[in-house]
């Protein structure tokens, strides 16, 4: 079995980070003064993380015991096979853009995960996927993901590393290259999955002009309207992070989606409770001329639990 090329990079990145961590911890231990070790003001955030981690572990365990959750249909993900099938029939490539940020951005990691799923289908359909990247590390990660997907699809010969290239770290130089390549090669399906900024609309409008099926996913809320306006399907926010688990269909990963939903339910409950208590406190204060401390305290407590630092009962 050929050795995945990017592994040595992952090892190097992680080793470098660990060495830095050890050095920093040793230096910091000498400088610790009277301040408490734990940052009390971040307790609500830690509580949230522990709760979500606990819910994740619980739902993964539940899924493994044969109770996988039912996931609602996500149109954008249902269309992935259709888009790749169209590209195969037309004899044109599939274009996948994993954003313009590096591997330290969680959106890029989610994009590369999604690339693995897309590349597997591409290999099964005997199509071609082009992945221009704007960071060298992303190129290595993308190559590794595509190679592993081709192997998983039983088509190791389908892996073409020359189709996964580094273009430029410069935002608009990368945009110009991708726009030119789209106009010349006319990919039949375009995937934009990752972190995007001003270039999002340039990509999406160029793709629209060449008649490609376009599926986008990003967590940059300022770019979502552009993708929604110009693409056929858009994964909005959390859907983008759920995409990999959704497409895999594996019980473990689907269990984590249920934990995500449980977190959302908790947030919604707290938002409603906070709004009701804050409103009641205001209304009653207006009516009687005095604030109602119990409600004000409840509202402030909920705000603190949500992580608002400046919340107080005053």
């Amino acid at each position: 079995m050929p050795r995945p090329r990017g592994c040595r990079w992952w090892t190097a990145v992680a080793l470098g980070a660990l060495l830095g961590a050890a050095r920093s911890a040793m230096a910091a231990s000498d400088a610790v003064d009277a301040e408490p070790v734990f940052m009390q003001e971040r307790l609500p955030l830690l509580t949230w993380i522990v709760c979500i981690a606990g819910a994740t572990a619980f739902f993964v365990w539940r899924s493994r015991r044969g109770k996988p959750p039912t996931i609602r249909r996500i149109a954008a993900l249902e269309a992935v096979d259709e888009a790749i099938g169209r590209a195969t029939e037309m004899g044109r490539p599939v274009l996948f853009i994993p954003g313009i940020q590096d591997m330290d951005n969680i959106q890029t990691v989610a994009g590369i995960t999604m690339l693995g799923r897309v590349a597997r289908t591409v290999a099964e359909y005997d199509a071609v996927v082009e992945v221009p990247t704007s960071r060298s590390l992303v190129m290595e990660a993308a190559r590794e993901a595509v190679q592993a997907s081709c192997l998983a699809a039983g088509r190791p010969d389908a892996y073409q590393p020359d189709r996964i290239n580094y273009i430029s770290d410069e935002q608009f130089a990368y945009t110009a290259w991708v726009g030119g390549a789209m106009t010349r090669e006319k990919p039949a399906a375009c995937f934009y999955m990752g972190c995007f900024f001003a270039e999002s609309l340039i990509f999406a409008e160029t793709g629209n002009a060449i008649g490609a099926i376009q599926i986008a996913g990003t967590a940059e809320s300022s770019q979502l309207p552009f993708f929604v306006a110009a693409c056929d399907y858009t994964l909005i926010g959390e859907e983008f992070f759920a995409a990999s688990a959704y497409l895999s269909g594996e019980p473990d990963l689907l269990g984590t989606l249920q934990a995500q939903d449980a977190g959302k339910l908790a947030v919604m409950t707290m938002v409603v409770a906070g709004a009701v208590t804050a409103t009641l406190a205001l209304v009653l204060a207006w009516k009687d001329g005095e604030p109602w401390p119990v409600l004000q305290d409840a509202s402030a407590l909920l705000q603190r639990a949500m992580g608002f630092q400046g919340a107080s009962s005053d």
């Binding site: 995945p4 990017g6 592994c7 992952w10 090892t11 190097a12 990145v13 992680a14 980070a17 660990l18 961590a21 920093s24 911890a25 910091a28 610790v32 070790v37 734990f38 940052m39 971040r42 979500i52 994740t56 572990a57 993964v60 330290d104 969680i106 990691v109 989610a110 693995g116 799923r117 060298s136 190129m139 993901a145 592993a148 997907s149 020359d162 290239n165 580094y166 273009i167 410069e170 130089a173 030119g180 010349r184 340039i202 999406a204 409008e205 629209n208 809320s221 979502l224 306006a229 110009a230 926010g237 959390e238 990999s244 990963l253 984590t256 934990a259 995500q260 977190g263 959302k264 947030v267």
Partner: protein, 235 residues
């Protein structure tokens, strides 16, 4: 398998938990910056691979006379010229602190060939690409604002309120409204739309994104999802 997947996975998990700890424990507070520095060093080394890939892909395109091979020649020429000028500090003036050392100045100064390339080639090209956005916004808006159904009509009306409310046209058109109806003035309506509807929708999306980020990070930290290392699912 041990070297390719297991060890990198455990190193990544350990590094992830250390980063998490650095957000809550004071003695480990500086870890975040150290991790970022380590990442920058590795990324800089990886840049050599990127440059190699760029050269290889463009040289292959030129030799095969693929569509647009002329652009590949321009790319290669621009890359090599910029690399040479920057790396060898061509035309750089000595630093005032070390006037006898010819390479002591910075190549990023405005009066150097490297600075000239940036100021008179890079900046105009970048601005040109950015300026294209205006036309793309117009074409996307034209498509998006067609009144095809009730939702599209709502979008169109909201867009008009925003466009007019954020210009003097809004003041001219609805400035005559009396004070008791000032909430209906376009400039006030646009503020209301931004502060209420837009903020509510945006916060809902942002909360969803935050939970998605947390769930994805935990999937990776707990080793449930290993597809980021290549392959599907748990690999």
């Amino acid at each position: 398998m041990l070297l390719q997947r297991t060890i990198p996975l455990w190193i990544a998990i350990a590094a992830g938990f250390l980063m998490l700890a650095s957000s809550f424990l004071r003695p480990t507070q500086g870890l975040g910056e150290d991790f970022a520095n380590a990442f920058s060093v590795i990324a800089a080394i990886a840049f050599v691979l990127g440059a190699g890939s760029l050269l290889k892909a463009n040289l292959a395109k030129v030799s095969r006379r693929d569509a647009g091979w002329g652009f590949a020649v321009v790319t290669l020429a621009a890359f090599l010229i910029t690399l040479t000028v920057g790396l060898f500090k061509v035309g750089v003036h000595p630093s005032p602190e070390f006037p006898t050392a010819p390479f002591s100045g910075s190549q990023q100064a405005a009066d150097t060939p490297f600075g000239w390339l940036y100021e008179y080639v890079m900046v105009p090209l970048t601005s040109t690409m950015f300026a294209l956005l205006a036309f793309f916004v117009a074409s996307a808006a034209f498509r998006a604002f067609r009144a095809k159904n009730a939702a599209a009509v709502l979008l169109l009306v909201t867009a008009f309120i925003m466009l007019l409310g954020r210009t003097f046209a809004g003041v001219v058109l609805t400035g005559w409204l009396p004070d008791w109806a000032s909430g209906l003035r376009l400039e006030n309506l646009s503020v209301f739309v931004m502060q209420v509807f837009n903020t509510a929708g945006n916060r809902a999306i942002i909360i969803g994104i935050a939970l998605g980020v947390a769930a994805t990070s935990l999937r990776i930290l707990l080793g449930v999802d290993r597809s980021w290392m290549g392959g599907g699912g748990r690999g």
